[in-house]
C-alpha cells in the first residue's frame, strides 16, 4: 500500500515541523484550596493558548447555564470537571490531566483537587510533575491548605514553585497586599529548599498576567504566568547523575539474542561500558544498545532501549543495572516518608506488597517514627496511618533490593504499597535513607539445625494455626490434639490467645493496630519454637487474612496449616462461655470480633472444621493426621 507522498511542503512549513520536533515538555500541577480558582486558571490557559475547540466551547456555554457559578459569563472551570458527579457537586474530586501547547513547549497539567481530604490526589499529580503552581486567593492570603500544599509538593521532590496570587482584581490590584502574601509564603517555604519561587499577581477570571502582562498591575515587573512557564528551566539534571536502569522485560526472540529492555532512568551508557547487576554484583560489558530505529552510540536518561551484554549473566525483570563505580545500596530495611491513600489504615506489622522500579516484594512497616501534621508540620506519635496522613516510617522487606534515597534517585527511591488481598494501591512512599542495622546484623550461622533438633524428637516441626470466632471451639480442639500427640510421644506446645495476652502481649489492646502486632509476635514465637523442633498449636482468633498470611510466610511450604474452626456466630454467642458476647452486645467491650470488628474468613484453609457438623474428636484426628504427615485421619487411628 502506498502512503500518500509527503509533498508540496513550503519552507515555512518545514521550519514549523522542525520547531515542533524540538519543542520541550513541561509537566506541572496546580494546587489550591476550594474556590481559589484552579480550574478557572487552567481553563484560562487553555483559552489563551487557543486549545478550546468550538464544539467544546458550545458544550461549555450550555453547561455554564446549567451548573456555572459565574452568572451570565462562560465558566471556564467547567472545562475541567470531567465527571458528571463532580460537575453536580461543583468540586473537583480527582486528578485531571490537561494539555496545551505554545510555540516553545508542550504542557501537561495535572489539575489536583484542593478539597481537605484529597492529599492523595495531590501527591499523585505531583509525582509526575516538575513544577507546581500554588494558588492563593488574594483576599485570604496564605491559609492552612497553602502550607499543606507546599509541604506535599516538597515531599514529592518538586523544586520549582509558582505562587499564583489569584483574584487580584478583588483586592483592587493592591500592590501591598500582593507583597505581603509573597513575603509570607517565602517565610513559610524557607525550610523546603525549593530551587525557585516566582510569585505572580493574577486574575484567572479576567486573564490579567496570565498570558500577557496586565496594565492593571503596573507595579508588577515580572513575567506573565504563561511566559514564565514557557521559559523556566526545571533543571533536569538526570543526565549528570549515575547510570541506573530497571530491567522491565527480557527480550528473547530466538536463541541468538538475549536483550534487557528498560528505560534509562539516569546517567548514560555506551557500548563497551561495564555494568553491574545491583542485587547480585555480577558484571558484564554492554555489547549493543538496540532500538527499532537502529543501534545507538549512547543511551541517555529517558530513552527506552534494549541492551545486549557480552556475557550470559543471570539477570531478569526487577534487576537494576548500574555502573560498577557507583552502585545502589542493596538493603532490606530503610526509612521513608509514606503517604497513606486508602480508607483502611496502615497498620505496622501488616504485610503489604511493595513495588519499586520493576520489582515487587513483600514489605511491612516495622515502626512509625511519627506522623506529620501536614498543616503545622509537627511530628506526632502514631500507631497507625489513616487516609491522607503522612508519616515517617521504617520498612522491612522480605528480601534485599536496590533502593536509594528519593532525593537522589526518583526511580529507585519511589515505591507504592499494594494490599495483598484487595490489590488496591494503598500507599506511596519516598525513601529517605537505608537503615544500617540491616547490613550490619548478620545471621549467626548455627551448626545444630532445626531439622536436627526435630529429628532428635522423632518428629517434623509444624504449626497448626487455629483461627475462628471467640467461643468457636479453637482451644477445645487444640487441647484434644495436643493430648493425642502427647500420647504418641510428640513434643508440642500450645500458644493460646488469652494466655499470651497476660504476658508477652500484655501491652497490647484490641484496636486493629494492636491486633496486627499481637498476631505478628505470636507468629514469630511460633516460628522460633519450630526452630527448636516443636509442634506448635496456635489458638488465636486472628481475624485478618493479612496476618494469617504473614504467619504462613514465616514457615516453609507444608509446615503451616490454617485450621479454620467454622462455627456460626449464633452458636458462639449462645455458648458465650466467657460472657464476652453479652458484654460486647451491651457495649462494655469494643472492637469485639464478629460484633463491631470484622472477621475475614479463610478462603482455602488446609483444614476446615464445621463444628456444628463434625464431632470434635474426629476434627482433632484430622489435625493430628496432618501434623504427622498422614493422608487421612483413618491412617493413624488404628
Amino acid at each position: 500500500m502506498n502512503q500518500v507522498p509527503v509533498a508540496r511542503e513550503s519552507a515555512d512549513f518545514q521550519r514549523y515541523i522542525a520547531e515542533q520536533e524540538r519543542k520541550s515538555l513541561l509537566r506541572f500541577l496546580t494546587c489550591g484550596s476550594v474556590d481559589d480558582g484552579k480550574s478557572t486558571l487552567i481553563g484560562r490557559l487553555l483559552y489563551e493558548t487557543k486549545m478550546i475547540f468550538e464544539d467544546h466551547f458550545s458544550a461549555l456555554e450550555r453547561d455554564s447555564r446549567k451548573h456555572g457559578t459565574t452568572g451570565e459569563e462562560v465558566d471556564l472551570a467547567l472545562l475541567l470537571d470531567g465527571l458528571e458527579a463532580e460537575r453536580e457537586q461543583g468540586i473537583t474530586i480527582d486528578v485531571a490531566y490537561r494539555f496545551f501547547t505554545t510555540d516553545k513547549r508542550k504542557f501537561i497539567v495535572a489539575d489536583t483537587p484542593g478539597h481537605e481530604q484529597y492529599t492523595r490526589n495531590m501527591a499523585t499529580g505531583a509525582s509526575t510533575s516538575d513544577l507546581a503552581v500554588l494558588l492563593v486567593d488574594a483576599r485570604h492570603g496564605i491559609v492552612t491548605q497553602t502550607r499543606r500544599h507546599a509541604f506535599i509538593v516538597s515531599l514529592l521532590g518538586i523544586r520549582h514553585i509558582v505562587l499564583a496570587v489569584n483574584k487580584i482584581d478583588l483586592v483592587d490590584f493592591d500592590q501591598a497586599r500582593f507583597a505581603a502574601i509573597r513575603e509570607a509564603f517565602q517565610q513559610l517555604a524557607a525550610d523546603f529548599g525549593f530551587a525557585s519561587i516566582v510569585s505572580i499577581p493574577l486574575s484567572a477570571r479576567y486573564g490579567d498576567n496570565v498570558a500577557e502582562v496586565s496594565p492593571r498591575t503596573p507595579w508588577y515587573h515580572g513575567p506573565s504566568l504563561l511566559d514564565h512557564l514557557q521559559r523556566v528551566d526545571v533543571g533536569d539534571d538526570l543526565a549528570r547523575r549515575p547510570f541506573r536502569m530497571c530491567v522491565q522485560w527480557v527480550n528473547r526472540p530466538d536463541l541468538n539474542f538475549r536483550g534487557f529492555a528498560g528505560t534509562v532512568a539516569s546517567g548514560s551508557l555506551r557500548p563497551g561500558d561495564e555494568i553491574v547487576v545491583a542485587r547480585s554484583g555480577t558484571r558484564s560489558r554492554v555489547e549493543r544498545i538496540v532500538t527499532f530505529d537502529g543501534d545507538l552510540d549512547i543511551a541517555e536518561a529517558g530513552t527506552a532501549v534494549t541492551l545486549t551484554l557480552a556475557d550470559e549473566i543471570d539477570a531478569s525483570r526487577g534487576d537494576v543495572f548500574a555502573k560498577s563505580d557507583d552502585r545502589p545500596e542493596v538493603i532490606d530495611q530503610f526509612a521513608a516518608h509514606l503517604v497513606w491513600m486508602h480508607e483502611d489504615p496502615m497498620l505496622p506489622g501488616r504485610p503489604y506488597l511493595l513495588k519499586c522500579g520493576t520489582r515487587t516484594v513483600s514489605a511491612q512497616v516495622t515502626e512509625i517514627r511519627h506522623k506529620i501534621d501536614v498543616n503545622s508540620f509537627q511530628h506526632l506519635a502514631a500507631k497507625e496511618l489513616r487516609l491522607n496522613e503522612v508519616g515517617e516510617v521504617h520498612l522491612g522487606l522480605s528480601e534485599a533490593i536496590a533502593i536509594e534515597p528519593y532525593r537522589q534517585h526518583r526511580e529507585t527511591g519511589a515505591f507504592v504499597l499494594i494490599d495483598r488481598f484487595s490489590n488496591a494501591t494503598v500507599g506511596a512512599g519516598m525513601v529517605t535513607h537505608g537503615l544500617r542495622r540491616a547490613t550490619n546484623v548478620h545471621w549467626q550461622a548455627i551448626d545444630v539445625t532445626r531439622e536436627a533438633r526435630a529429628q532428635l524428637k522423632h518428629q517434623m516441626a509444624k504449626v497448626a494455626w487455629f483461627t475462628g470466632l471467640s467461643g468457636s471451639g479453637k482451644s477445645t480442639i487444640a487441647n484434644i490434639v495436643e493430648k493425642k500427640l502427647h500420647a504418641l510421644g510428640k513434643h508440642t506446645f500450645i500458644l493460646d490467645g488469652d494466655n499470651v495476652r497476660h504476658g508477652l502481649n500484655r501491652d497490647l489492646g484490641f484496636t486493629d493496630a494492636d491486633r496486627v502486632e499481637n498476631v505478628r509476635r505470636v507468629a514469630e514465637v511460633a516460628r522460633l519454637m519450630t526452630d527448636a523442633g516443636l509442634i506448635v498449636l496456635v489458638s488465636f482468633i486472628s481475624p485478618f487474612k493479612a496476618e494469617r498470611q504473614l504467619a504462613r510466610d514465616l514457615m516453609a511450604a507444608g509446615e503451616f496449616a490454617e485450621v479454620f474452626v467454622d462455627t456460626p456466630i449464633e452458636t458462639c454467642e449462645a455458648r458465650d462461655s466467657k460472657g464476652l458476647y453479652a458484654k460486647a452486645r451491651a457495649g462494655q467491650i469494643r472492637n469485639f470480633t464478629g460484633i463491631d470488628s470484622p472477621y475475614e474468613r479463610p478462603e482455602a484453609p488446609e483444614i476446615h472444621i464445621r463444628s456444628n457438623e463434625e464431632a470434635l474428636e474426629h476434627a482433632a484426628d484430622r489435625v493430628v493426621a496432618w501434623i504427622l504427615g498422614r493422608d487421612s485421619a483413618d491412617d493413624w487411628v488404628i
Binding site: V4, R8, E21, A85, T101, R105, T124, S127, T128, D293
Partner: protein, 302 residues
C-alpha cells in the same frame, strides 16, 4: 525525517514503550485492541518498537461491527500480514442475528451491542487480563481523569469513584481472576502529537484520512459517506461527490467527514493547526449529552 532525541515526541514515545513493556511483563494474557484508526496505527507502530527485535508478545484484537468502511478492512488485513502479527477478529454474532444496525436501532443501542458487548464477549472468550487501548486524555472530559492502568471489574465495568491512585510510573498490575486492566499507552498524547508523529515516522494510515472526492450524503448536519448498498437514502437525500476527508474513523454510517483538500500529511497537520472543532465532533455517539462518554465507559466501552 527523524525526531530529536529530547523532543516532546521522543519523550511521549519512550513513555508509551515503557507502558507496553510493563503490561507484557506483568500480565499473563494481554491483547492489543486495534480499531484501524490513526491512534491504533501509532499504537501498533510503538508496539513494534517496544519489543524489537521480537514481535509484540500478544495478539491484536479487532472488534468488527460489520459496518466499518471497506477501505479500513482492506487496510487492516494488509497491515497485519505485512507486520506478521496474530489478529483476532470478533463479531457479536448475537447482534448480527438480531439484526442490529446503525440505521434500524439508533447509534446508542447499536454501539452498545456491536462495540461494547462485542468487546466484552471477546475479552471473556479469550480470558484476556489486560487490553491495550489507544484512547487519549485530550479526547474528552471523562478521559482526562482516566488512569494509564485502568481497573475493570469482572463484568468489565469502570468505577470512576474507585480508581487506583497512580504515582510516578509505578503501575499496579495486580488483578484477581476475571478482573482486568485496560492500559492506555497514548494517554498523554494529543491529536496534534499523533499527526506529527505519523509524519515524522512515516506511519501508514488508512487512505480515508486524506482528502479525496467521495460519495457523500448530508444527514443530521453530518457528511456521511455512502460506502455500500446497505445505506438507504431518504427521499429528500441525494448523493454528491464531495472533496472530503475523515479526522476520525469508525462505522461509516456514524462517522462524519469534513470538507477538506488536505491530501498529504503536511497539509493535514497544517489544517489541524487552524481546526476549530475537536475530532470527536465527527462521531454521532458522543452528541447525546455531555456525560455520555462517562456512561459508556462505566458499561465497559473503551
Amino acid at each position: 525525517m527523524s525526531v530529536d532525541q529530547h523532543s516532546h515526541l521522543k519523550r511521549l514515545e519512550a513513555e508509551s514503550i515503557r507502558i507496553m513493556r510493563e503490561v507484557a511483563a506483568e500480565f499473563s494474557n494481554p491483547v492489543m485492541l486495534y480499531s484501524i484508526g490513526k491512534d491504533s496505527s501509532v499504537m501498533l507502530h510503538l508496539a513494534m518498537k517496544a519489543f524489537y527485535p521480537s514481535k509484540p508478545p500478544f495478539p491484536v484484537l479487532h472488534v468488527d461491527t460489520t459496518w466499518k468502511f471497506r477501505e479500513m478492512i482492506a487496510f487492516r488485513d494488509d497491515i497485519m500480514q505485512r507486520l506478521g502479527l496474530d489478529m483476532i477478529v470478533h463479531v457479536n454474532q448475537e447482534g448480527v442475528a438480531a439484526g442490529v444496525t446503525p440505521f434500524t436501532h439508533g447509534s446508542n443501542y447499536y454501539t452498545h451491542v456491536m462495540k461494547t458487548e462485542g468487546l466484552k464477549q471477546a475479552l471473556d472468550k479469550y480470558g484476556f487480563d489486560a487490553a491495550f487501548g489507544g484512547a487519549r486524555r485530550d479526547e474528552e472530559k471523562s478521559r482526562a481523569k482516566e488512569r494509564i492502568f485502568s481497573f475493570r471489574s469482572a463484568n468489565h465495568t469502570w468505577d470512576p469513584k474507585n480508581q487506583r491512585p497512580e504515582l510516578w510510573q509505578l503501575y499496579n498490575a495486580r488483578v484477581h481472576k476475571g478482573e482486568s486492566i485496560r492500559a492506555f499507552p497514548l494517554s498523554n498524547w494529543t491529536e496534534l502529537d499523533i499527526w506529527q508523529y505519523i509524519l515524522a515516522e512515516n506511519i501508514q494510515i488508512v487512505p480515508l484520512y486524506f482528502a479525496k472526492r467521495r460519495p457523500i450524503v448530508e444527514r443530521g448536519g453530518m457528511l456521511i459517506m455512502v460506502d455500500d448498498e446497505r445505506m438507504q437514502l431518504q427521499p429528500q437525500e441525494k448523493v454528491e461527490e464531495r472533496l472530503v476527508r475523515f479526522r476520525t474513523l469508525g462505522c461509516y454510517p456514524l462517522t462524519g467527514a469534513v470538507e477538506s483538500s488536505a491530501a498529504t500529511l503536511p497539509e493535514i497537520v497544517r489544517e489541524m493547526l487552524i481546526a476549530r472543532t475537536s475530532e470527536r465532533q465527527g462521531r454521532l455517539i458522543d452528541h447525546d449529552e455531555s456525560g455520555s462518554m462517562e456512561k459508556k465507559k462505566k458499561e465497559g466501552y473503551f
